[in-house]
Amino acid sequence: MAKTIMTADDSASIRQMVGFTLREAGYSVIEAIDGADAIGKCAGTSPDMVITDLNMPNVDGIGLIRELRAMPQCKFIPIIMLTTESADDKKQAGKAAGATGWIIKPFQPEQLLAVVRKVLRD
């Protein structure tokens, strides 16, 4: 069965690009427009992986990661954050909240897939 990946990003164009890339690679994708939306959608399903932006309205990426790690079904799943900051502090804050890894924007579709394959068991 196809693995389900949830993406959370407030930018429609990034959502579209990430969603399309993942679907092309055979994953099924749930899209969320911000952290709160993602938390709501996670409560009903259990995604195999989450890819989240950090700067989002309502609940931001760091808050989302914390909330997800508190859900039993998301405790051990890989969570990747999308960040424009190459600076370390955001990365560290994300890691401290329980993120698995990160992708620095801008990125190419292949780079996205490489990271997904790195952390998500086929």
């Binding site: 990034i14 890989p78 190459s86 890691k95 993120a99 698995t100 890894g101 292949e110 780079q111 996205l112």
Partner: protein
């Protein structure tokens, strides 16, 4: 529209909306500078324009917006107040971004002076210490460092890697085994788990990772590729990567001579004496472990490392010794006797109830088992030794018949008991001749069918469980089920109304007296059909199966046990008689009451989980006296696709069975394949399971017809 164009289109719409928002938000901020949520929204809008812009190729937009974002970040944290000047600059910046978006879409070129003026203006607002550094802009296309694209190739090198993840690694969603797999993909890899930090079982927290790994890796991908594997965990885990020096393959002349060598050369000691003395030496590792310098785990990992290095050196020297095979046969026989005697010893000591004796007997049991494995292993030979002769066979025969055929062999290194290899040669010759004679078409016929001119016969061997499967596969014309069926009916092998599956029909070619060949060649088709193959494989306790696709080719699989000398058996009893069923054929044991049999008494069939399984009663089959107990046991055995039940009085247990042949007089007894001697000296007969299966299926067919 390409996918990229579609993203750009979406981004344009998104940017338009955001820029419209920015205008509204800025005006709202001017009215009420204390509303923090508006400032956050403004920051996010700029952040999205920057981030998404960079993603879809709007590098200038991203670079410019970065400055605005940086300033807003400082505003957000209270570093600068909101004033008229700031509001003006942000509105100007918003207009400038709108112009840049338009320019990218084919509009008029933007005034770069204006961009510079805005950036400088924003910079001037920042408190000292914060400055707008152009190189931090997220717009540079080289910034897409996802950390996993390392394709720089380097020289082949060996690395020693220690990876000790943080105990909480699972809570970051990272599975360390994925990283180990990733390392495996880089090159030849040897992974040793270091278990020193593993606490006692009751102390283990299942959500924590206590393991560390040492990985010896040979790769040409370079050290950066290795670092990239660990990029997400390098902050929290202990990771050591050390390049091992490449071993110099130095000429032995350069090395100083060893002490022993010198002594022997000078005649001061014999080689045997030196070897004896060396044997008394403790291994370095043992000494170090003994004195507590290193832990056993650490030592093992170091030894594994040594192994990798030895491999790198390419030194695979193995000394061999030629021994006459009859000497080995004697050895195997002796081991067989030893196994029997050991069983007897265990039985006797069990009755004595002396714990000191029991301990010693258990030790003997363990050693006997080891000895048995080692001795049987000595008899194992790579099957490739027989493959060689077939090359010649195929060449000569195909020339004679005017055909062009390649023999491809695979798995020549697969090891199998020498006796099996010897007895396998004839059936294989038969199968291969059959493929050459009847299956592979003439070159002209092949070309006409769109096949390559040259035919191919694949001869392969592989281990599958406790069996070796030898496959003879050709790309010839395949078997025609209709023709075979017609022939079988003509020969009276089956009746015309029998409903057979394709597999069953193909199996008919192994029936005695069956041959589909149109012509008789000098090699085959002399009336000796494939039944010879079947008989020989049966005698080896093996199994034959055929698959074929008309026009495409035929595949014959021979499945054979690894050894013939000693097998694991299931010991069962009927009255006072004991029988051994080869354990490899046993699927399950069932207890069936008399009442349940009564229901099926007319037809020897029982239901096993809804499936009908025919059965045979050993008591009836071998005419054993006595009455059956109320609770009989049924052992379900399987050969290929067929399953039958064997009904016995009771199951005793598993038994190391040393196979003894029955002798000429009993060779043709149906249902028995040999005998073994029990611990108490009595004899148990070994059941011929394929024979019994045939028996039961035939009986069932006959019963069906009679009904």
């Amino acid at each position: 529209m390409g996918e990229t164009d579609r993203y750009i289109e979406t981004f344009r719409m998104e940017a338009d909306e955001l820029l419209a928002d920015v205008e509204d938000i800025v005006l709202a901020i001017e009215d009420d500078p204390s509303n923090r949520s508006n400032i956050d929204r403004l920051f996010r809008a700029m952040h999205t324009i920057k981030g998404s812009g960079a993603m879809f190729g709007f590098d200038d937009v991203a670079a410019f917006t970065h400055h605005v974002e940086t300033t807003l970040d400082v505003v957000r944290s209270g570093g600068i107040g909101i004033g008229r000047e700031l509001i003006d600059l942000i509105l100007a910046a918003r207009d400038q971004i709108t112009a840049m978006m338009a320019a990218a879409g084919g509009g008029p070129v933007v005034d770069e002076g204006e961009s510079r003026r805005i950036v400088e203006g924003l910079g001037a607002l920042l408190p000292k210490g914060d400055s707008l550094k152009a190189e931090e802009a997220g717009g540079s296309s080289s910034g897409g460092d996802a950390g996993v694209v390392g394709d720089a190739s380097a020289e082949m090198a060996s690395y020693k890697i220690v990876f000790a993840p943080d105990p909480g690694i699972f809570l970051t969603g990272m599975d360390p085994s994925l990283l180990l797999e990733e390392l495996r993909e880089l090159g030849e890899c040897q992974i040793i788990a270091l278990t020193e930090n593993l606490p006692a079982l009751e102390m283990v927290d299942p959500e924590k990772c206590y393991l560390a790994w040492q990985i010896n890796l040979r790769t040409d991908k370079g050290v950066d590729a290795i670092r990239d594997v660990f990029i997400f965990v390098e902050d929290t885990s202990r990771i050591e990567i050390e390049q091992l020096p490449e071993l110099q393959v130095s000429a032995s002349d350069d090395e100083p001579k060893k002490l022993g060598q010198i002594l022997v050369e000078k005649g001061l000691a014999t080689e045997a004496q030196v070897r004896g003395a060396l044997g008394k030496q403790k291994m370095l590792g043992d000494i170090l472990v003994g004195s507590g310098v290193v832990g056993a785990e650490t030592l093992n990992s170091a030894l594994a490392e040594q192994k990798t290095q030895e491999k790198a050196k390419g030194a695979e020297k193995s000394e061999t010794l030629r021994v006459a095979s009859d000497k080995l046969d004697v050895l195997v026989n002796l081991v067989g006797e030893l196994v029997i005697n050991q069983a007897r010893l265990s039985q006797v000591s069990g009755a004595v109830e002396n714990s000191e004796l029991l301990a010693a007997v258990e030790e003997v049991e363990r050693l006997t088992g080891e000895l048995r494995d080692v001795v049987l292993n000595i008899r194992m030979m790579p099957i490739g030794t027989t493959f060689g002769r077939f090359k010649r066979l195929v060449r000569d025969t195909s020339v004679e018949l005017g055909k062009e055929i390649d023999l491809v062999t695979e798995g020549a290194e697969t090891e199998i008991d020498k006796t099996v290899i010897d007895r396998l040669a004839d059936p294989l010759v038969h199968l291969i001749r059959n493929s050459i004679d009847h299956a592979i078409e003439s070159p002209e016929a092949r070309l006409g069918m769109g096949k390559p001119r040259k035919g191919t016969i694949l001869l392969s061997a592989a281990h599958r469980g406790t069996n070796v499967v030898i496959t003879v596969k050709d790309d010839g014309k395949g078997l025609d089920a209709e023709v075979i069926k017609a022939k079988a009916i003509e020969r009276g092998l089956i009746s015309a109304d029998q409903d057979l599956s394709e597999k069953e029909i193909f199996a008919l070619i192994f029936a005695p007296g069956f041959s589909t060949a149109q012509n008789v060649t000098s090699m085959s088709g002399r009336g000796v059909g494939m039944d010879v193959v079947r008989r020989e494989i049966d005698a080896l306790r093996g199994n034959v199966s055929v698959t074929s696709e008309k026009g495409k080719g035929t595949t014959v699989d021979l499945s054979l046990p690894l050894t013939l000398a000693i097998i694991d058996g299931l010991l069962v009893a009927v009255n006072n008689e004991r029988f051994v069923i080869p354990l490899s054929t046993v699927e399950e044991c069932l207890e069936l009451t008399g009442a349940r049999f009564a229901m099926s008494r007319e037809r020897n069939v029982i239901q096993v989980r809804g499936e009908p399984v025919p059965f045979v009663r050993l008591r009836e089959m071998f005419g054993i006296e006595g009455t059956e107990p109320d609770l009989e046991e049924t052992i379900v055995v399987g050969v290929g696709e067929s399953r039958i039940g064997i009904v016995v009085d009771h199951v005793i247990g598993d038994h190391q069975t040393v196979i003894k042949s029955l002798g000429k007089a009993y060779r043709h007894v149906e249902g028995l394949s040999g005998a073994t001697i029990m611990g108490d000296g009595s004899v148990a007969l070994i059941l011929d399971v394929p024979g019994l299966v045939d028996c039961a299926l035939q009986a069932e067919d006959a019963a069906l017809k009679a009904a």
